[in-house]
């Protein structure tokens, strides 16, 4: 059963017909041709499909595209402007925060979504005082980035990059 939806992806308006069974991830990849969100597990267990949906980080493999008519989506590709890279992306390169690069677009989106959460004062399970202000310690970064698996094991560099990129 098909349905027509509209999405804004990386600043561009897209109209597409989707099978109601199509996940947002597959709509972005197969429907629109976006390559930044990756299918690492297809079951919410790795974070490689993370994008910013209306400004918040979400996985896209466990949600149907049809439920997101009108949504505004930013993928890692949309964070850059041609040759100009987002400071977080530059930090990832500088810190060598990846190897194969497959988890990387999801890591970058997750990092930015996470920083917005910190900015808003949201605690994490690593936060000692739930009611106080949140300080972006390495332990906080690690916990908050734990939804993005990296099989290449770039974690310590990812933490360095996120710390740099947050400046």
């Amino acid at each position: 059963m098909d349905s027509e939806i509209q999405l804004r992806v990386d600043g561009r308006r897209k109209r597409l017909r989707v099978d109601t069974r199509m996940t947002l991830l597959d709509a972005l990849r197969d429907g629109i041709g976006a390559t930044a969100p990756k299918t690492g597990c297809d079951h919410g267990q790795c974070g490689s499909c993370t994008v910013l949906l209306d400004g918040r980080r979400v996985i896209t493999c466990l949600t149907f595209a049809v439920a997101h008519d009108g949504a505004d989506i930013t993928t890692a590709e949309g964070l850059a402007d041609g040759e100009w890279l987002h400071p977080m992306q530059r930090a990832f390169i500088e810190r060598d925060a990846f190897q194969c690069g497959f988890c990387t677009p999801g890591q970058v989106c997750s990092a930015l979504g996470m920083l917005a959460e910190v900015e808003a004062g949201h605690p994490s399970v690593a936060t000692d005082d739930l009611t106080g202000p949140v300080e972006l310690t390495d332990e906080e970064i690690r916990e908050r980035m734990s939804g993005n698996l990296c099989r290449c094991g770039a974690y310590v560099n990812i933490v360095d990059a996120v710390r740099d990129g947050a400046r």
Partner: protein, 334 residues
Amino acid sequence: MIPFDYRLAPDVDGAVAAATGWGGVAFLAGGTNLVDHMKLGVAAPEVLVDISRLPLDAVEELPDGGLRIGATVRNSDLAAHPAVRRDYPVLARALLSGASGQVRNLATTGGNLLQRTRCAYFQDLSTPCNKREPGTGCSAIGGYTRQHAILGASAHCVATHPSDMAVAMAALDAQVTVLGTSGRRVIPLVELHRLPGDEPHRDTVLSPSDLITAVELPPLPEGTRSLYRKVRDRASYAFALVSVAAVLRVEDGVVRDVRIALGGVAHKPWRARRAEDVLRGSPVDGSPADEEVFRRAAEAELAGAAPLAGNGFKVPLARNTVVSALRGLSREER
């Protein structure tokens, strides 16, 4: 996945009406559990009623000091809500220890309560499972049982309920508001989920057209402390092997109020009434002597534990985690 019809619920009543009358309908909230199951073939609804945009996304502070949490409030928003952080740290921590940031941004209160077991055999169509297909047998018994129950299981199913949030809510005496075909009703959270018995396919007391609209938390008296301790196989992004939600009020060196719920050990969030009975009225002063009563309480609860081959470790783990949680709370008290 079979094709399905997608309907955006116009309003709360419309959602219930759309789901009434036949079996092939499911409510779609964040989708993080339902879509997972549809991909695996564990769920095969023909109609999805999308409730994620219903106006049930508010957290309200009630006049009596309690809290009403809308069913579509995102797990992340609930954990970040100032009242939850201030008054119900056990809940905030339970939420924050579940899944990942980008899953919690989708997951909702209602969906979290009704998420189904993570039993690997349940999720794999190629292995028999009484919960998925009644009467086919339980593959977990005699199999891989690390995530399985030690309390309240049956010969038909030994699954656990995976929610962290629900465990905290069980300890908080939460009440669940449900809208069904015959109107609104309120169910204590501890009665929402069932034990498997001989009907393991029924996770809860709800019927398919019942819509959870809200969860209410009664206020906690002044001086009450609470915490959530989750023990898992990796430091983050993993389900609980055992978790403990504990709420404690000590006055004049005596336990006045205590509520403990365990996660990862049973088919439902397990309210540890026996342990509470041992503790209530006991002297507690933050000294090492408390250890003894905490341990007795934990052991009283776990006396009925029936571990499976392969998960016997959960009994001492649950005991120690209860003791550790109570120790933490009673010291925080000073």
